[in-house]
């Protein structure tokens, strides 16, 4: 499969040794995983472990009068059935605001809320006992529509009401901006409720270690936030609990929030016995967090020669029952609204709204895919009205260093968009576009579309703490790097090994990397496209200090990398830097059946300095696959607060035949000036522009633009008919 690296700017230092930064060193974990030898969180089986079974509330929104567990407790083999009364400390958790019950005491707000947890000697007994728990209470009216949720007489999901977060950002005076415009385009649309669908569901074990310390080993994205919430619930000091996040079977943001960790710890804490819990697929889809569905309205004005004068955007995000990371998603979405372009005036209004529709939280892209889907199609609409080439229109308005983004903050170092625009413009897909489209067979229509994206990396101003790591020279002369951010599958630990090898002048296989343990340093989470940037720089600096140690024997460096963050315009905004990309997509539509075949795709991205080209390509392609799902396939359908499609047979993710026959990632590498390594985060950028590029390509193919994502075959057929009439 073609894979191009066009390196512009300086070439990464180092380069001797097969693993040094800049080379596609194989993953350090690949072989053990391929052999089935790596133990995932769901593979742990402590001797004598109790099987834990969560009991979910029978109603979606209800006031609880009582939870009856006597019948369940009486089942032979049941060791305990625990309710809210058994939670020793704070019966609430949450990454920012602790508003979600560990075990519901008074109110149930979504289908996934737990009311009790069973611990038994076997899985079968635990399951059977769970069915004997009865909950009495009275139903409360359901809130399932965000617009309805904001009405003054809407039932309140929380005492403070249904508005979880709101913001108003921008600069200048949009009315004046529209007055200056020669052309104004409006576009309103909604995006789907996407499920992470990691192949390994939420899973873990808990036990008392040899020293009697409570230990939880689970799939999670930050062992320290897991521990903080476990300790709050169990009323234990943090020194009394250890959390491990081993390499797990995918996360994509869906394992940042607590899932199994607290109930596992609770069972071990109360029984003294090890415990295990793996959600089955239906539970995972039905009750796990989801991507926020967004409803977005854009209005954008431009002058006749293509300068953007005004942007007015409204965002509504359905955040579900609890806060989780809703405000953060809304904030990042607003930050990126309008795309990497300058507007003379801008106004962005956003709301995150509570409903009884499950719970929404982090998912790769974190609000950006939802807003990029719109602006990149708006720009195409403007280009069409103005008679300007779509890429040139983007280039003309691309944010320059120091300019203000639509949300009102200044982009310090700029966004390096021109490089990827040029690359896309010079690419094979666009060069061949007209000929390729003309060659469509009877009954097929082809279209080509482009979309750009920017994605902030790191956690943003006022939030990104940098990372602490350890670098040690071991007794046998090798090196050990210890970080806390787990490897979710993205290969960050391999990148750290390469960085360490480069800094120390040794081979990659002489570097051991330990991760995901609260007994180590706090490198903060694996999320937000941050680890190669924040933790990678810490590793590089720590190793440089280690190398300087005069003592040749064992040595340990504890080092914290503190990135130089811009001033916060708003919490988390702006980011220290932004990764730019330009995506070109060629689609073919069957006009008789509405089937859409994405046949060609080029992703031009600038990852900054490249530690591992194959690793960057891997992130690009994996994110693109999820983006195709977001664009064409994936939607969790809710009815009365319950998920209707909770299996892989009815929640469809892309399979091997759904990826484009031609899929290319082209790297344009210009060092980022925000950090010493010059890297940019690449974990999320690939997913963000896909839906817009597909939407633009479909508009090119059939002359119809869609306002609802995912775009399914029935919508395509309807669109073909409307296009024929219109």
């Amino acid at each position: 499969m073609p894979f191009d690296v066009a390196v512009r700017g300086s070439v990464p230092a180092g380069g001797l040794g097969s693993g040094w930064p800049g080379s596609s060193a194989p993953r350090i974990d690949a072989e053990a995983k391929a052999r089935g030898e790596h133990r995932f969180p769901s593979d742990y089986r402590p001797d004598g472990a109790l099987w834990v079974w969560p009991v979910r509330a029978p109603l979606v929104h209800a006031e609880i009068a009582g939870v009856e567990v006597a019948a369940a407790r009486a089942v032979p083999g049941v060791v305990g059935v625990f309710t809210a009364a058994h939670v020793p400390g704070l019966n609430r958790f949450g990454l920012v605001t602790a508003d979600q019950p560990v075990l519901c005491d008074r109110v149930v707000r979504c289908a996934g809320d737990m009311v009790a947890v069973v611990a038994a000697e076997s899985r079968r007994v635990a399951r059977r006992a769970s069915r004997l728990v009865t909950v009495s209470g009275r139903p409360l009216p359901l809130v399932t529509d965000p617009a309805m949720a904001l009405l003054p007489d809407a039932p309140k999901i929380h005492p403070s009401g249904n508005l979880c977060a709101e913001l108003l950002l921008g600069h200048g005076d949009v009315a004046a901006g529209f007055a200056e415009a020669d052309v104004v385009v409006e576009y309103a649309y909604r995006t789907g409720r996407q499920e992470h669908a990691f192949l390994e569901s939420e899973a873990g074990v808990s036990y008392l270690d040899d020293d009697g310390r409570l230990t939880v080993c689970a799939g999670g994205q930050n062992p320290f936030t897991d521990r903080r919430q476990i300790c709050a619930a169990l009323d234990l000091p943090e020194s009394a609990v250890r959390v491990l996040n081993p390499m797990m079977g995918g996360a994509f943001g869906g394992k940042e929030d607590i899932s199994v960790q607290i109930v596992l710890a609770l069972v071990t804490h109360l029984t003294g016995r090890p415990a295990r819990l793996t959600l089955d697929r239906a539970e995972s889809i039905a009750f796990g967090v989801k991507r926020h569905p967004f409803q977005v309205r854009y209005r954008v004005g431009a002058t006749g020669d293509g300068e953007f004068t005004a942007l007015d955007a409204e965002l509504i995000a359905d955040t579900g029952a609890y806060e989780a990371l809703g405000p953060g998603v809304l904030g990042l979405a607003a930050e990126h609204t309008g795309g990497p372009y300058a507007y003379r005036h801008a106004r962005i209004a956003g709301k995150a709204v509570h409903t009884n529709n499950g719970n929404s939280s982090a998912f790769r892209g974190f609000g950006n895919p939802q807003v990029t889907t719109g602006i990149e199609q708006v720009i195409d609409l403007l280009a069409d009205r103005l008679g300007i080439d779509p890429l040139k229109l983007r280039g003309r308005n691309a944010l320059r260093p120091g300019q203000r983004a639509a949300a009102g903050f200044a982009v310090g170092y700029g966004v390096e968009l021109p490089g990827v625009l040029d690359s896309a413009g010079a690419g094979q897909l666009l060069a061949e576009a007209e000929g390729w489209k003309a060659a469509a067979a009877p009954g097929k229509r082809r279209g080509v579309g482009v979309a750009c994206a920017w994605q902030g990396f790191g956690l943003g101003a006022g939030v990104e703490p940098g990372a602490q790591v350890w670098a040690e020279r071991t007794v046998d002369g090798g090196c050990r790097i210890t970080v806390s951010c787990p490897d979710l599958g993205e290969g960050n630990l391999t990148a750290f090994a390469q960085i360490a090898a480069g800094a120390l002048g040794c081979e990659v296989d002489q570097v051991q990397v330990c991760a995901g343990d609260t007994d180590g340093p706090d490198s903060d989470a694996s999320n937000a496209s941050r680890t190669v940037f924040a933790v990678g720089n810490a590793v590089a600096q720590a190793c440089a200090r280690l190398r300087e140690c005069a003592d040749r024997g064992p040595a340990k460096v504890v080092h914290r990398y503190r990135p130089e963050l811009p001033d916060a315009h708003r919490i988390g905004m702006p980011h220290i830097g932004y990764t730019p990309s330009a995506m070109v997509v060629g689609v073919e539509v069957d006009v008789l059946t509405g089937e859409v075949d994405v046949q060609r795709l080029e992703h031009h991205l600038d990852p900054g300095r490249v530690v591992n080209p194959a690793g960057v390509r891997a992130q690009s392609e994996g994110a693109i696959a999820q983006g195709l799902g977001f664009a064409l396939l994936e939607d969790v359908e809710m009815a009365d607060g319950r998920v209707r499609n909770d299996r892989f047979s009815n929640y469809l993710i892309p399979g091997v035949a759904d990826l484009p026959a031609e899929l290319r990632t082209i790297l344009v590498s210009t060092p980022d000036r925000s950090n010493p390594l010059g890297v940019r985060g690449v974990g999320e950028i690939g997913i963000t522009p896909v839906a817009a590029a597909v939407g633009n390509a479909l508009a090119d193919a059939i002359g119809y633009r869609f306002d609802r994502f995912p775009i399914t075959p029935d919508a395509v057929l309807a669109g073909l008919e409307a296009g024929a009439d219109g």
């Binding site: 499969m1 194989p26 974990d29 690949a30 072989e31 995983k33 391929a34 052999r35 089935g36 030898e37 133990r39 995932f40 769901s42 593979d43 089986r45 992470h196 990691f198 192949l199 390994e200 390499m247 079977g249 995918g250 994509f252 793996t278 697929r281 009954g443 599958g489 993205e490 290969g491 069957d590 006009v591 008789l592 059946t593 089937e595 075949d597 390509r617 891997a618 994996g622 696959a625 396939l633 359908e637 209707r644 299996r647 892989f648 047979s649 469809l652 993710i653 892309p654 399979g655 091997v656 035949a657 759904d658 990826l659 899929l663 002359g703 399914t712 075959p713 029935d714 057929l717 296009g723």
Partner: protein
């Protein structure tokens, strides 16, 4: 008898060349027996319904989903898990190519892909990227986007010749040409009253009669296991894998007889099926990934009577009959009448569907035009939100004769588009005739109005399939809508 209170009996499984005696309920999932009882955690639980392939193992050298196999059905067979591929030349080659290609990210799906690839490589089905894509259609990955996985397996395919055998490393070797399938091979009986393996049809009838409603007949068992299996119930599994006659495909004068327990995989590859009932071979190739094709059976498909049962439209256009056997004798019923409603058939208590019979003329026409097309939102494996159309016809001059059209997933049971067929036969084929026939076929579709896609959409797709497929095969241009 509360079967849950029975002490687990001892089931003997041969795993990675080693015989293991396990105390488990034979109705339980093989996946759980491997992971919990054998401690072989390389095989993963990803979905529990055969969609993701993370639990792929080899049973007699063929890729199967362990989440869909009751333990009792694996007894006596040769099982290979990812751990058993260690040291195998093809297995080692796969590990190194996956590593080199960057095909391992989180790694949870990887063992399933490797085992599925091993099986396809053994058969020589990895000649190029397109073949590899088909061979891996039963495995999902959420991290990589598949490209390096396909690259890695394609590279192995170029280095490794087909093994010419169907048994995995270690264990008994079975020549590739042998009538190898889970059915027809003698299986040691587990001796557990919850899982019966009758060796004659007569014994099967006796057992079913004795069990008075508690018997659940299993052939491939995919539907049953995906829906949760039998462990929580009092039901007794009566596994039909010991009945050789159910696993045969036989051409007799006037009839092609397909045993009820013939798998999709065999239907797909059988030369008589390809020659006489090509729509059925086509349906078999798309019913699911290779793991599902190896497990699922035609009889199971018919008895489950889902509105979208892929086996029904191809059989309907060939006027097939089903043979129902009971202790009192056998009877035959047209396939088009067998399913009466979703999930309900004419199968009476105590009856077993034993065969499908397809009438074949003495000299079948050589220029038969026939297709089976399935359309859904995802390529390769649409299971839901789909529409299927099966069509057969003979072109004589410029006219179609002997036309029959059947629709699947377009109504509670199969739809016969008789008016559409009549229109097609009524005159020379041209664009207008095709369009009229397509419209007539769409009109008989009576699907439920799901939120998405709507009944209207399914009707449009029915019409679209007919126009597209007939136009292409007959060389008739059609009006594809206005040009942009």
């Amino acid at each position: 008898m509360d079967s849950r209170a029975i002490a687990p009996s001892r089931v003997v499984l041969r795993v990675n060349g080693v015989a293991r005696e396990l105390a488990v309920d034979p109705r339980g999932r093989l996946l759980d027996a491997l992971r919990e009882e054998c401690g072989l955690t390389g095989t993963k639980d990803g979905c529990g319904e055969g969609e993701c392939g993370a639990c792929t193992v080899l049973l007699d050298g063929r890729a199967r989903c362990a989440c869909l196999i009751p333990v009792g059905a694996a007894a006596g067979g040769e099982l290979t898990t990812i751990e058993g591929l260690r040291g195998d030349p093809v297995g080692e080659c796969l590990v190194q190519e996956f590593r080199r290609a960057g095909a391992v990210q989180c790694g949870f799906c990887t063992p399933g892909f490797l085992v599925a690839a091993w099986s396809a490589l053994a058969r020589g089905e990895c000649a190029d990227a397109a073949a590899v894509t088909g061979s891996l259609a039963g495995n999902l990955c959420r991290c990589t986007g598949y490209v390096p996985i396909v690259d890695a397996v394609t590279r192995v395919g170029r280095q490794v010749p087909p093994l010419g055998r169907h048994a995995p490393p270690r264990g008994r070797q079975v020549p590739a040409g042998a009538v190898a399938s889970a059915f027809g091979q003698a299986r040691p009986l587990s001796g557990d009253p919850r899982f019966l393996v009758p060796d004659t049809l007569e014994n099967a009838h006796t057992a079913v009669a004795r069990l008075a409603g508690r018997a659940v007949l299993i052939a491939g068992g995919t539907h049953l296991m995906a829906a949760g299996g039998l462990e929580e119930s009092d039901a007794v599994a009566v596994w039909l894998g010991g009945l050789a006659e159910l696993g045969r495909i036989e051409l007799t004068p006037g009839w092609l007889r397909i045993g009820a327990a013939v798998s999709w995989a065999r239907l797909r590859r059988d030369t008589e099926i390809a020659r006489l009932v090509p729509a059925l071979a086509r349906a078999a190739a798309g019913v699911g990934g290779p793991q599902i094709q190896e497990a699922g059976t035609l009889g199971g498909n018919l008895v489950n009577a889902a509105p979208g049962a892929d086996g029904v439209p191809p059989l309907a256009i060939h006027r097939a009959e089903v043979e129902l056997s009971s202790a009192a004798g056998t009877r035959r019923v047209p396939v088009t009448e067998f399913a009466v409603a979703p999930g309900r058939t004419l199968l009476a208590a105590g009856e077993i569907l034993t065969a499908v019979l397809i009438p074949v003329p003495a000299d079948p026409p050589t220029d038969r035009l026939e297709f089976f097309t399935k359309v859904g939102p995802r390529r390769g494996r649409a299971m839901i939100d789909k529409v299927t159309v099966a069509t057969t016809a003979v072109l004589i001059g410029d006219r179609l004769t002997d036309v029959r059209i059947a629709l699947g997933a377009a109504g509670p049971t199969v739809g016969l588009a008789t008016e559409a067929a009549r229109l097609l036969m009524a005159g020379p084929v041209d664009a207008a005739r095709l369009a009229a026939a397509a419209k007539a076929a769409a009109a008989i579709a009576d699907p439920i109005d799901d939120i998405r896609p709507t009944a209207d959409h399914r009707r449009r797709v029915v019409a679209g399939i007919l126009v597209r497929e007939l136009s292409a095969r007959l060389g008739v241009p059609f009006d594809g809508g206005r040009t942009r």
